[in-house]
Amino acid sequence: MAVLLRRLAGHVARGLVMILVVTTISFLIIRSVPGDPLAARYQKLVEQGMAPDAAQRAVEALYGFTPKGGLWEQYLDYMGGLAHLDLGQSLSVPGAGVSTVLFSAAKWTVIPVLAGTLLSFLAGVVMGVYAAIKRTGVLGDLLAISGSLLHGVPQYVLALLLGAIFTTLIPILPAGGTADIMIDPGFTADYIGSLVEHATLPVVTYALAGYGGWILAMKSSVVTVLGDDFILAAELRGMKRSIIFRYVARNAILPLFTILALSLGLLFGGAIFIERIFNYPGLGLMLIDSVNNRDYSLMGGAFLLITTAVVVANIAADLLYTVIDPRVRSGGETA
């Protein structure tokens, strides 16, 4: 326990420094993105038929929502705000706080990506064990091929295929949105059913896209463990195969847990292509929107969220390893 707490304290300190550094770098990068949001807004208003002088005045009304002062002043303002957990105001949605916008988009990314990742992890791990055991047979080959195939196909291609099949050819799933607006929101079977129905295609796409990587990693990990001395010793002692495989699976899954924890950290990055294809308005689409609108505050908030998530996931992965691997817990000493 003391080892764990010591590790945790070190990680948290390092994590905070990392967040500070990345936040500073992303602040500078965001501020150096060329393109003027107000000029783009002006053009849009003029193209909509507004007189140029009126469009100019309408754009001036937005000045209040753009960051003021020099770079250093803006940086101090930004960091000062962060110290009070204030991420600022959105430029593209005047009046809406960045944290509000982030939170409302986050749930539409985190939950489907999490569901998809866990599904692919479970399926990949189980099938990976089978693929390793049956690696000399037809089943093993088929499983390995399925993994390679799905690992090689880009996410957005999968999404386009699934979308074309299930929304156009066999239109059994909705083509976009998060829930049927005609159903009153609430904790009802109808509404939850609608949420599930709308999330099905994104979740299945995430799951299929991730499955290939997990099955191949698990298969390779199992095959490595099968060659370890302790397995040979167990076999020589006449231990049951089922017990041996329990040992194998436990040891083989250890590195995959680390990858899983890290991939969970990337949840907040959003899956831009998938969200766009399925018109599923999560963090990915929000991030693209904020870049297109040069919404500096929103971009900064999104990058901060992603950075924090990755740092926390790293810490979690490390602590998880400490918990599940006795060799790490004892400081690498072997009995």
Partner: protein
Amino acid sequence: MKRLTAVAALLSLTAVAACSGGGTNGNSTGGGGGVYTTVDLNKPSLDVNAPINPWNPKGNAFWGYNAMRIAWAKNTLTDPNQFYPGIAASWDIAPDNSSITLHLQPGNKWSDGKPVTAEDVKFSIGLAYTQGSTAFAVDPGAAGAASDVEVVDDATIRITQDMKNPSVTFVRGVMDAFVVPKHVWQSVVPADFWDTLETARGDGPQAEAARGQIKALSEKVLAFAPPQDVSAGPFVLKRMNPGEALLVKNTNFYNAANVAPDQLKLLNTTGNEQIWNYLTSGTLDNAPFTAVPADVMKRIKATPGNQVVKGYSPVAVSLAFNQAKKPYDNVHVRRGLASLIDREEVTRIASPEGGTAAVTTSGIHQKAAKEWLGADLDVLDPYGLDTARADKEFAEAGLRKKDGKWAMADGKPWKVTIHIPAPFSDWVSAAKAITSQLTAAGVDAEVVTTADYPLYLSELAEGKYDLGFWLIALGPAPYNIFQRLYGTSNGWNILGGKVKHSAPGKDGNWMGGPETIDVDGVGTVNPGELTAQLNTVGGDEQKAVIAKLAKAANQDLPVIQLWDYVNTQFVNTNRFTGFPEDESDLLRQPSGVWIQLGLIKKKQ
């Protein structure tokens, strides 16, 4: 493990259900008039966090549906001052355009049951002053600004124009104003607002301070979020999620008896592809002006009930020159290039459904040009495909042909580089077609794409490009049309009612054209000053100015007009009928306006 996953999934969905937007528990909403489904052209991307506020760029006040203007502009070729009723049922315009008296819809009520009065209109005009509009500007010398707003009675209000600097578009500026309920919004502005406004219209330091106070309110107005929708439109916003907005019929609307749909669904879209998919699946009752490639159009038309409606769109696209860069400062080079571009082919490739090849470069959409110029349109140089003429023009400009390729006068290589914003697929196709045509004619050419539109606009304004695509002919108001060629982008700005010209590279002047042009049969003209005149002159005088400017644009070619847009809309007659026909003057208004005017009927 499986059980754990199932529980986790259920908990996740519960979390989403718990934190999803409002609404009351109960059964699905339904009604006899049916659900009308569309996409809002003005706000295709929905945002649940945005306030129900018509001035907010992403606000959930949708024009024509739950946000009302005083009146709705007709899509006319030449007259910006024709309207359909909105909050106002009728209006009287003074012969000299000095005032407009609005008569509000009788018996009209907000969705919460309170009457819509002239006080609401006056209050909304006050809010418009904080946002800056055409008729409601506090800037000294602003053209076409109102000087007085007077409530005559509960249903009548008079707005008077400041005749020190009048504008022919004053009426349009008034009619475009949004009207919001005073009893919901009144906390946004201080009690002495109108006194401050009166002071702001004067001169001196006090007026300056008052203008500052008015402008300081703009942020507050932009961000104001009413707790719920109180609408005077045909619909009221009931609820939203990130993918859709649901609006229900406003039974207090003045023309509610003729509003066919009980409910209205607005779908979120992030690009044209989604609109195509919705159309192909027959989901939409109407889709707004959407660029569609030919193969997709076939699929859309094959869907039962889908129909295409086409009409006038006062927009054209052009290839614009930066005349500060050589050799584009030479008019013969510009004319030579115009003679090498096959506009018919370019339009066929880039915008087969939504465009008509430009008949010439006049700065005006060809349909409006026929009205404005009459027979003079046929006199303009059409710049038809003519390689011999191009050779002659290039030679006259001093360019030299070496090994079958045109080079600069000093023998250095010449490459035409056309910049395009990458997301605009029709422009990219057009630019590629143009470069192919130029290359085939011995002019080395390339297309360079810019990551997105904001970056494109800022680099264009900085004068970084030799050539770029530029929207022109933004009618129907003549001043709006010609300021695209002879406005800020070409060095002319109107400051305090006075026209000022800036040198290339200064104050947004990226076109870098000459300040005066010698026009055949007209003489020397200052096109920026002529353009500014279009704000004030009317009738035959206006026509005469337009004729001069069209000649100047045609002869001097600050841009090459490529194609004129066609407003291409889609309707589906499976559920509703009565949609506007081809060329209807309602086609540029959202379908909420068609519905509120009683055009749309439920299919029997």
